[in-house]
Amino acid sequence: MSVDEKTVRRIAHLARIAVTDDEVGPLQGELNAILAFVEQLGAVDVSGVEPMTSVTPMAMKKREDVVTEGGRAAEMVANAPETEDNYFLVPKVVE
């Protein structure tokens, strides 16, 4: 499997990473090198094998559905590039 320029741009859009026209070619080459490397996995017999979904066999821990902390809004937004009244400010999302 290999990717063409159109696919590289599509993947970049899915990943929300801007790529310039100059960057597409080299990226395409690098991605194809990696895809060529992983191609060998197609030859492995995986019939009847379950995918590994849990590294260490364990049931997911659960906790009581109660509020245990909060009221620290100013701390939560302290690292944000733009805030107002403890809200995160972003460019308009919906037209």
């Binding site: 991605l31 060998q40 690292n79």
Partner: protein, 492 residues
Amino acid sequence: MDPNELTLAEARDALKAKRISARELTQAHLDAMAKARALNAFVRETPDLALKMADEADRKLASGEARPLEGIPLGIKDLFCTEGVTTTAGSKILETFVPPYESAVSANLWRDGAVMLGKLNLDEFAMGSSNETSAYGNVVSPWRRRGSDAQLVPGGSSGGSAAAVAARLCLGATATDTGGSIRQPAAFTGTVGIKPTYGRCSRWGTVAFASSLDQAGPIARTVRDCAILLGSMAGPDARDTTCVDLPVPDFEAAVSRGVNGLTIGIPKEYRVDGMPAEIQKLWDDGAAWLKAAGATIKEISLPHTSSALPAYYIVAPAEASSNLARYDGVRYGLRVSGKDIAGMYENTRAAGFGREVKRRIMIGTYVLSAGYYDAYYVRAQKIRTLIKRDFEQAYAAGVDAILTPATPSSAFGIGEKASADPVEMYLNDVFTVTVNMAGLPGIAVPAGIDGQGLPLGLQLIGRPFDEETLFAVAQVIEEAAGRTILPEPWWS
């Protein structure tokens, strides 16, 4: 007594016996750090905080309330959130991030009285095997080839941690390992590094790369020092659902157990084509030392070994693409404006992430996308089951630990693997990724010096949650290999 030549265990004794104060010990390390800036091991030094913590340690030592790591100065890989101290993950996108909370692992170290010297450099978002992808510059290894002043890599991603420990800038360091990022740099720098079993340490507050592979662990100059550090770093944590509710064993006590009666497996598939003769000899020497110490050596087969590295380069990037989606310029870190919100996301991430990170996010996005998910990601996860099964079968047949080389070579030069093919760099992890894929513990221990005067390490892989056996076996290798050799300081 030179404070910088002490091991962690020796310093602990010296502090208790009042042969040195915590302040003197910390100051000696701060001074060494100031002379070693050419290594670029630290991205941030925290001398004021360190001395404040050292003074508190001196108070505790004086009043007889010394905790397990009281006054011990450590470096912290800049992937662990440290409250009030900028944490960058080696990336421009987090250049201004100051965590309002402490990671579980570093909190455990401060609970036990350790001192923070600063934050250690790393490959960006832990993605790399040479510490050449950090947004804050390369780490230069404290080692040099005999008769050469070429700059060498310390390994990665925990390059800063390994370099700082080898250069005696700290008594130990925290690190993380997703595909080999503790063991490979430890092997390249002649230090000891352990990646514990997945779930032994809490990942809460550790910047995530690949959530089913990441694990924190210590790098130190001796096996005993590593055991002491892991004892503090590990432990249950309700905030990480993958962190197991097991009590922390006394790892330090296990160090002197010996290997009498243990069976050590030698996996034939790790004997790869083109492996340098020096590495094969080191591996044979390791087996001979263990046999002489009372272990039985047994050849075993781990048939799916060669699938581990390609499967890792599907699973890890896939998980990274999900974990790094949060860096969008909204809640923390870099923001670059765009014509609209999508533009802001795209410009922020393009400017904030380095090349290797972008490459891995994109591979991850591709293998998880519609039409490719089954062929790539699900298939790789099935291969993971097979890799883990290989180990389970070996252990069930009576093997206690497995001995392999740690790396396919000694440290290479900075810039030497900068070719257009990213896979060439990935091959550095060929012996280490299997361990992360199976969730097992693995330790790298220095075992010799190559023809160029550079360290070579061996790796031991253990049963789940049996780090104790790894420490016992590694200690036998450390003793047989001879005293720990550290690089001569060319940098000061």
